[in-house]
């Protein structure tokens, strides 16, 4: 028996811890890769210019999706704005939760797809969009739908979309840096003054290359850990809003039992859905190693956490 407040607090704390870990890792990886770059290019160690370039490139690549995320949804084939008459439960439940959460009413869209799923996007509560599939609206009762919509509202209220975008920019930056370092050592000729360098420079060079190879993978793994932790947090906050864990529990069961994959989903938005839209790794995955690569924690674990709150 865990009370809702404690569950939310604990999840917020763990999520902050992972983000701090992630920041430290990014700082260390960037330091070594840029030092190696500097040594390789024959600059004085300490030049961070290349990091700035990588940050800008990665930022421009990711920020478009972040800034326009609410209008990109309109591009998904078959997405139509929800209206009160056709989608009575979806519309009114969202109205009610917006009152309860004290956030402006997000824009609501419905995708014609029989696979039950839902996701939220938009850079802040004012530009938030919640999308549900027709399958979800047909298969869930009002109480279950309330749990799912509250989960999506928690992502909005906790600024998860902003957080995940920033994390994605940093992961992209590290991947670019590592890539550039490896490419430049591959194609570029070594400098003749290399032999004159002291031992320290050689070691930093080696560490830099190791980081260049490993850190994109490690950074991505931490990114996925952040994503999984935010799912737990959104589940807990959802119960905090509705005070009905049973609704979300049976909704998660229904959604995960449905084996149909969602056609509109893509890898970039997968972490936003309430349940992994690719339906992979939920039942077939064995062992913790495969679990490391999931954007969502296993449904069984989420149910266990929710059952403690009943």
């Amino acid at each position: 028996m865990v009370n809702v407040y404690e569950a939310v607090e604990a999840n917020k704390f763990k999520s902050t811890a992972i983000i701090v870990l992630f920041s430290i890792f990014v700082a260390v990886a960037v330091f070594f890769i840029s030092q190696a770059f500097a040594i390789y290019q024959g600059y004085e160690p300490g030049g961070l210019g290349i990091v700035g370039i990588a940050l800008i490139v990665s930022g421009v690549m990711s920020m478009g999706g972040y800034y326009f995320s609410d209008s990109i949804i309109l591009g998904i084939s078959g997405a139509r704005p929800a209206n009160k008459k056709k989608d009575f439960n979806f519309f009114t439940v969202s109205e009610n939760l917006a009152i309860g959460a004290g956030i402006p009413m997000p824009k609501l869209f419905v995708i014609e797809d029989s696979a039950p799923n839902a996701f939220a996007t938009g850079r802040d509560p004012k530009h938030a969009v919640v999308v549900a599939t027709t399958g979800l609206l047909e298969k869930l009762t009002r109480t279950e739908l309330e749990g799912v919509v509250a989960h999506e509202f928690s992502h909005i209220k906790n600024y998860d979309i902003r957080l995940m975008s920033i994390v994605a920019v940093l992961v992209g930056m590290i991947a670019l840096l590592g890539d550039w370092l490896i490419r430049s050592t591959w194609y570029g000729g070594r400098r003749s003054n290399d032999n004159d360098d002291n031992k320290g420079a050689g070691i930093i060079m080696l560490i830099g290359i190791i980081f260049a190879i490993l850190s994109p993978i490690v950074a991505q793994l931490i990114q996925l850990a952040v994503s999984r932790r935010r799912e737990f947090l959104a589940d807990a906050s959802s119960v905090g809003m509705t005070r009905q864990p049973a609704g979300l529990i049976s909704a998660l069961k229904k959604i995960s039992d449905d084996q149909e994959p969602l056609e509109a989903a893509n890898k970039a938005t997968a972490h936003l859905y309430i349940v992994n839209p690719f339906k992979e790794g939920e039942k077939r995955t064995v062992g913790w190693f495969a679990g490391l690569f999931n954007t969502h924690p296993p449904v069984a674990e989420r149910l266990k956490a929710l059952q403690k709150m009943v």
Partner: protein, 184 residues
């Protein structure tokens, strides 16, 4: 050294201002949340007679058709010519059935129930917001270090949503024990 002291002083002032602002905004938001509850209660009150009358009107319309049908049936049972009545009622019935293949009456009643549930949910969530905001405010008021500011500026404890523990509404009269007749 002087910069360090100035820096710390600036930080303290910034923290003081932000804490003070938290308490003031929280109070204003709680006030707004109370108004929101009143707003939703009014919506509920406006909605119910409105819905009831519209459903009543609809059922009356169908009752008329049913009446015509049963009149026609009675004529047939009595061995009299009912073709005139049937030719009158059939197109009307057809229109009703074509526009609503499933039982329209049940659907309308269901819609009424949906609206009623939704409006009470809205009142509930308006209350939830007020309770949550007051809880946040009260927790911040007593926890370290923000309690310093709360005491300094006399931010009092707020009661949140009050449930009266005595009064006439807690007693059940024999009149209220009778089950209600819903007029549709």
């Amino acid at each position: 050294m002087i910069y360090v002291i100035v820096g710390i002083a600036v930080l303290i002032v910034v923290w003081l201002i932000s804490e003070y602002n938290f308490f003031v905004t929280a109070k204003a938001r709680i006030k707004a949340a109370v108004q929101e509850i009143g707003n939703q209660l009014k919506r509920q009150a406006d909605l119910i007679p409105n819905l009831e009358s519209s459903v009543k009107g609809y059922l009356k319309h169908e009752k008329g058709i049913l009446q015509m049908l049963s009149d026609a049936r009675k004529l047939v049972a009595a061995g009299k010519d009912a073709s005139k009545q049937i030719s009158e009622v059939l197109p009307k019935l057809q229109i009703v059935i074509e526009s609503n293949p499933e039982l329209k009456a049940d659907n309308v009643v269901g819609k009424l129930m949906d609206e009623l549930r939704d409006t009470s949910d809205k009142v509930m969530y308006a209350r939830r917001l007020m309770i949550d905001l007051t809880a946040d405010y009260n927790v911040k008021r007593v926890s370290v270090p923000s309690n310093i500011i709360a005491n300094l500026f006399n931010f009092e404890e707020l009661k949140g949503l009050e449930t009266p523990t005595e009064g006439a509404h807690l007693k059940v009269s024999s009149e209220e024990m009778k089950s209600h007749k819903v007029n549709l």
